[in-house]
């Protein structure tokens, strides 16, 4: 199972909640929109990532679980 983060750029309006809740992975660009350091989420941050996705007022942050080669 691999877990990745994805942003729906159409839904996102740059509230910036995700960068507050998941600063290890997400920072904001000069216009306030999220930039992912990497789409893969390190395991220890999984709960934080889910919380950030739930907190997004536009539901634009997607935690996607895909069956993968590893685990």
């Amino acid at each position: 199972m691999s877990v990745t983060l994805r942003i729906n750029p159409i839904a996102c309006t740059g509230h910036g909640m995700c960068a507050e809740l998941l600063p290890e992975v997400i920072e904001l660009d000069r216009w306030g929109y999220p930039v992912l350091a990497s789409p893969a989420i390190p395991r220890p941050l999984l709960d934080h990532a889910r919380r950030a996705a739930q907190a997004c007022p536009r539901l634009a942050l997607l935690v996607e679980e895909k069956a993968g080669k590893h685990r």
Binding site: N8, P9, I10, T13, D29, R30, W31, G32, Y33, V35
Partner: protein, 435 residues
């Protein structure tokens, strides 16, 4: 390197799609030019095999294998839909318009064939809704076929006008519009081949791709491979403009070099410094690099360019490519659907930075300001619109480093006063500052 690439001399003319131009318009001329089409297909699935074996790739810009796309749609659940994309968004392209105005039945043949091959019960031919005359012309062509009983066993082809914006010709935009939406790109998945028009697996092909399909169905995959390269078979339509003696749409074998294409278009009308290949989502290439490059997706990619929808603009030494890139990027920024933040804010910022380099000049950091914006825009939109713009700008910085340096340290060059060469819709209403 073949001698013709050096001399720009002899080029073998090829006329497959455009063979019908010498015949009277209408269905009878069409059948005399290409031969009758036998419909319905006895084994619709067989056509998908033939298209796959032909090696035909999409002629709309992406160059995806046409047969593989058809197979993906055909293998989906339930009834399917087919969309012919004739909404030529690229202002420097004229091939789709030529096909639709002069050879509409070749495109309509292709739609009817594709619809049968994938099992569609809906078929659309989409052009920009602002093109009233073209819409009427296509409606009459469809009516002519119906009167002749040609597509009796096929699905009716609906000629549809879609919004005239640049991004509305993107395939997800067209699908969204046909589903009752505003015609803007959508977040994927689902992609149209999975779930498109009315929820059906939907085949979206460029009109030129469908015209090739109409000939492949008549003559077979072996015939198709008789032109072009083994790795890039067949012919393609290219639109040549800029500093050439006979600008226009030409049919070439895949793999013809850029130099041969310029020769075909009458040769350079001035000393050339560069070619813009692939249109406004394409790339600048220095003329010396571009000249011997074969026009295939792989060939141009290896040279740092892109083929796109077969656009070649010959760039004269006297015109400033930085100024025109700034102008085109301003247009593309305005054409953003405005849905995604990085595109909505990034493209105007990029256009400003390009204008500062091109026109204001003598500003320390002007090049760095452009380079810093590119990663903030790339791969951050729902569609490829922002990525196409950054590719054009990156190629400008790569192809013209000396010009960029000159503009940054010395100011605008004399070339900024050259009249614009790259066509933009509504250009006359734009207030361009040409210094």
């Amino acid at each position: 390197m073949p001698v013709s690439a050096v001399t720009g001399g002899t080029t073998r003319r090829v006329s497959r799609l455009l063979a019908g131009l010498g015949y009277p318009p209408g269905l009878s001329g069409h059948e005399r030019a290409y031969g009758p089409l036998r419909l319905p297909l006895r084994r619709p699935g067989r056509l998908v095999d033939v298209v796959e074996a032909s090696g035909l790739t999409g002629r709309g810009g992406a160059g995806y294998p046409a047969g593989r796309k058809m197979r993906a749609v055909a293998s989906g659940p339930g009834r399917k839909a087919v969309v012919a994309n004739g909404a030529e968004g690229e202002p420097a392209s004229g091939k789709d318009r030529l096909l639709l105005t002069r050879l509409p039945h070749l495109v309509l043949d292709g739609i009817a064939l594709a619809a049968q091959a994938v099992g569609a019960d809906e078929a659309y031919l989409c052009v920009h809704g602002t093109e009233g005359a073209l819409l009427g012309h296509l409606d009459r062509a469809v009516a002519e076929r119906e009167a002749a009983g040609l597509d009796r066993d096929s699905v009716p082809i609906q000629v549809t006008g879609i919004p005239g914006r640049y991004v509305s010709s993107e395939q997800s935009s067209i699908v969204q519009y046909l589903n009752g939406g505003p015609g803007k790109p959508t977040f994927s998945p689902p992609r149209p081949h999975e779930r498109g028009v009315h929820g059906k697996p939907t085949l979206v092909h460029n009109v030129e791709t469908l015209a090739h399909l109409a000939l492949i169905a008549r003559r077979g995959d072996h015939w198709f491979r008789g032109a072009g390269l083994p790795s890039a078979p067949g012919t393609m339509l290219v639109t040549v403009s800029g500093a050439v003696r006979r600008p226009g749409v030409y049919e070439i074998e895949m793999g013809t070099t850029a130099g041969e294409v310029i020769a075909l278009a009458g040769g350079p009308a001035a000393r050339l410094q560069a070619l813009l290949t692939g249109g406004y989502f394409g790339s600048w290439l220095p003329a010396e690099t571009a000249w011997p490059t074969p026009l295939t997706h792989a060939g141009l990619r290896a040279a740092g360019g892109s083929l796109g929808a077969g656009i070649v603009v010959a760039w004269p030494a006297g015109a400033c490519p930085l100024a025109e890139t700034a102008r085109v990027v301003r247009y593309l920024a305005e054409e953003s659907a405005g849905q995604c933040g990085p595109c909505r804010f990034g493209l105007p910022a990029l256009a400003d930075a390009l204008a500062a380099l091109a026109f204001s000049g003598a500003r320390d950091g002007a090049i760095d300001a452009i380079a810093a914006l590119l990663p903030l825009i790339e791969r951050r939109g729902a569609c490829r619109h922002p990525d196409g713009v950054t590719q054009l700008v990156r190629s400008m910085l790569t192809a013209f480093p000396v010009d960029a340096y000159w503009h940054q340290w010395e100011g605008a060059c004399d070339g900024v006063r050259h009249p614009p060469l790259l066509p933009l819709p509504g250009d006359e209403e734009r207030d361009w500052d040409w210094g």
